[in-house]
Amino acid sequence: MRLFAATTGSSSQEIMQKVAWERRDFLRTTGGVGLGSALVGLTPFLRAVSAPKIKKIVVVTFGGGARDQETFAPEGQENIPNLIKELIPQSTFFTQVVNRGILGHYVATASLATGVYESVNNFASVPPEHPTIFEYFRRELKRPASDAWVVAPSNGFNRIGESSHRSYGPGLGAGVILPKHLLASAISGPNTDYQHLLRDNYETPFHTPKLAGNEFQMRQLEGILKLSVSDFTAHARTLSSPDELSIYIARQLMRQLAPSMLWVTLHDIDIAHAGAFSLYVEGIRRTDRLCLELWKEIQSQPEYAGKTAMFILPDFGRDADMDSGGNGFQHHRTGDALSRTTWMMVMAPGIREGVIVDRAIQSTDLVPTLGSLLGISPSFAQGKPIPEVL
């Protein structure tokens, strides 16, 4: 059927709620997570009384959601041992994060960063239309440019750091590092095989937008990251994927600049668009490992340990197997409930650990929540602060 062939006996909201309950039940089956009592005893505002103040924020988003059957469902838990055993027990976990916006990775990440469902062209090199969290943060707290950074997967994300909003915009945003772009600039020679790494927009594997805007300059490699070109390329040659390179850069930023606002967007999972299930699962496993490595890095650095909140969330989901309008894990094109429903985990000093929150929140709630934690007012954001985090 050319339009949408699948029908369902349930409304989207019912399906989203069901997904959330299943996630909760899946997590209850895992070892080491005492979730039942935590659910009953949830007191949303308890943290505000006793928790240490959050000084730094690290946000990790996945460009390319991972479905429950490959992650939180019993058959998928083998793919995320670190999230299940190490991170979820330390986190407040939200089972139902709904994205009501456009399900393209750049525009969805821009929506996460602005708190508004953006409508910008997903495949063009354009800034978000509304102020980003980085702009609110820097202007209200009078922070220098070195205090807010984005590490993003591809050229398409190079404008994510600051908006086109007339009250904010150029000069107020975050610096953006595109590790693969940096790598391509650093490597010279006859081999061009790696060039395809730059074409990482897996939805259209052959397209790469031209760079424009405040992207990280090659000369800053040494100046800011304290990396020589040869050291950088030598290290890159030991890494198996672009996301590993992104985490390497994120670590380097933390060690050299210790930014208060660090946003890392991972993208390996989105190889799913090529239709190879094994590569998609490999991407999930790698992302699982990298999230733990980043959290451990936070705990090991005095500038971050004990004062950092880390948020992990996919930008959205992927199509359900049962929706005949799609092709299962491969894409996120149907707009069905599964592709719109994802999850989020929050780890922070004083956070209620092992708590599962079933109620629906929206992707746009992230920025107001970050604003409340940092004491700033993201006035153009549409979402609401999440009390369970505050």
């Binding site: 062939a5 699948a6 989207s12 399900l103 495949f123 790494l197 239709g275 190879a276 590569l279």
Partner: protein, 401 residues
């Protein structure tokens, strides 16, 4: 332009059978909302290259539209009529290029946050259409077969996990002559129940010798076409202003002769094979993706009675360190990764087969090639069970009934 402005001469560029069909139903089409009609025209414009099952569906749909009273038509298309379109969309040449319109409509729906409303309207319409024009039951029970794991010697990946709840998992299959027996089975069905495009064989490498009664698609036979297509895509990407939407539009306009496909071939099958490469994502690069997508599209479009699919190893995805080191330019294969791809692909084959009429009577067999593991789903067999008894491939096929 709106549908009410349609005139017969605007369809002069349509292929012969498509034009004839349009003119028979022009009065009915003029009453449809613009948010709906181009999607229908996109199908009708390629009517001459559609499979018989698709033609029947289009015929029924057009007949229904023409038969609806004004009041009923308003009721049927109310959801679509409420979709807000832009003047830019209205001004597109959606008669001659309905595919371009649909591409831009999709972007418009997402941008204006109307995609959920459109989706709801589409689902309601599909349900209604199915109720008044239910698809015909197949003359015989369908049979799907998937052969996975070619080239794998040792495997620890647990196979058929998603399919096991629906059938019997056999762990001691005698693999002797397995492929030959499977081929004989599908050939026998094709001869006994002859039907155009009713019996298919899809291979992820070079096709085995097969009965001409089978409609055959193989990855290797399309290698030259794939190379030509990739070169064309590369060239287009280098063009100024080329974005993904524009690229998709260009790909949709490619004809078989543009990629040097044989003019002697079956034009319907040529178009189908071309669409696998121009509309599929990853089909140009990975044979496992190609096979899964080809099976999906064959089931969706041709609704075959028999489908034998044999997955083959795909090329290995090189890790980043190998790519930047340039240590090897050779194309290698990833047999274990391909097995995992194919295991999931076979599950999707079964799901897509079950979406066709007569699911309760259909059977499905997946076999780990040259190994002892297979899973069989059939009406006569229990679900969610396992058999450790030794069984030959011939006996396995007899269990299908």
């Amino acid at each position: 332009m709106l549908p009410s402005d349609l005139k017969a001469e605007q369809f002069r560029g349509y292929p012969e059978q498509a034009r004839k069909l349009i003119l028979e139903h022009l009065d009915g089409l003029k009453r449809l909302p613009l948010s709906f009609l181009p999607s229908l025209l996109r199908e009708v414009i390629v009517y001459d290259w559609k499979f018989p099952a698709e033609r029947k569906q289009i015929d029924k749909e057009l007949a229904n539209i023409s038969s609806l009273s004004a009041q009923k038509l308003t009721d049927w298309f109310r959801g679509f009529a409420q979709i807000r379109l832009s003047p830019k969309l209205e001004n597109l040449n959606w008669v001659s290029a309905p595919g371009d319109f649909v591409e831009q409509l999709a972007a418009h729906l997402w941008t204006t946050h109307q995609v959920d409303a459109f989706r709801a309207a589409a689902l309601a319409y599909a349900d209604r259409l199915q109720a008044i024009a239910p698809p015909e039951r197949p003359p015989i029970s369908r049979l799907g077969i998937a052969v996975i794991g070619q080239g794998v010697m040792d495997n620890t990946y647990p196979l058929f996990r998603k399919l096991r709840p629906h059938g019997v998992y056999f762990t001691r299959v005698q693999p002797d002559n397995g492929l030959k027996l499977l081929m004989e089975q599908v050939s026998g069905r094709a001869k006994k129940h002859s039907e155009p495009y009713g019996h298919w064989y899809i291979d992820g490498a070079k096709a085995l010798d097969h009965d001409p009664a089978l409609t055959c698609v193989s990855y290797q036979s399309l290698e030259a076409v794939r190379v030509n297509l990739l070169a064309k895509m590369e060239a287009e990407i280098q063009s100024r202003g080329m974005g993904p939407e524009a690229l998709r539009t260009i790909l949709a306009q490619i004809r078989p002769e543009d990629l040097s496909m044989s003019a002697d071939g079956d034009p319907v099958l040529n178009r189908f094979q071309l669409s696998l490469l121009t509309e599929g994502s990853g089909t140009q690069l990975f044979s496992t993706t190609f096979v899964q997508w080809a099976a999906r599209e064959a089931l969706r479009r041709a609704q075959p009675l028999t489908l034998l699919v044999r997955f083959a190893p795909r090329q290995r995805q090189k890790p980043m360190n190998e790519l930047i080191s340039g240590i090897s330019q050779r194309v290698e294969v990833d047999v274990l990764g391909s097995l995992i791809d194919a295991d999931m692909g076979s599950y999707y084959n079964w799901l897509n087969q079950q979406r066709l009429p007569g699911p309760e009577q259909s059977s499905f067999l997946v076999w780990f090639e040259d190994h002892n593991e297979a899973l069989l789903i059939a009406p006569s067999l229990p679900r969610g069970t396992q058999s450790a008894s030794s069984i030959t491939m011939r006996q396995l096929l007899e269990r299908i009934g």
